[in-house]
Assembly symmetry: C2
Homo-oligomer: 99 residues x 2
């Protein structure tokens, strides 16, 4: 099993409504993409200063399943819709669970 | 339930041995800190260019339990031991699971 993790920093002028739309877009995408074992996402809770603004963690049975998600047209459409208006910075890791 | 996620970029001269020591340090820490529901960590698998180098995802029953971990002396000792020699960049988010 592998976990894909991606974090986003949003532009300063991004609104709570835009962030909610982004979250709804992610949730609507999940049932349309095969191979997703678990999918969690949400905005930073504001516990610590200096954090990024949003994170996705997604679990897959294999790297190949992750790549199906990565390259799936429904996923690419969500990226195209939200990345430009919202995302100022991004960091990502894919790693093996259970090490 | 909340999930704490933190990603690290390592300095260019960090060795595979140092990364393995960091992972072992994290694994040894987990049973010494109360309130950790799940703890996953590992190096980036190299699937995508431009990724960060290492990630931790840790689940807690509450923000208060996360803060016990964040401030626990055994955790702080791991941070002190590895952050200086290894870590060039860091990004973090805490978020609610099941949104």
């Amino acid at each position: 099993m592998i976990r894909h993790v991606v974090m986003f920093q949003f532009h300063d002028d991004v609104t709570a409504e835009q962030i909610a739309e982004f979250g709804a877009g992610l949730s609507a995408m999940v049932p349309q993409v095969p191979g997703i074992v678990a999918y969690e996402h949400g905005p930073d809770l504001g516990v610590n200063p200096g954090n990024f603004d949003y994170v996705v963690t997604a679990d897959f049975g294999s790297i190949d399943d992750y790549k199906i998600y990565r390259d799936h047209p429904v996923h690419r459409a969500v990226i195209e819709r939200f990345t430009g208006p919202l995302v100022a910075g991004r960091s990502a890791v894919q790693f093996s669970l259970g090490d």
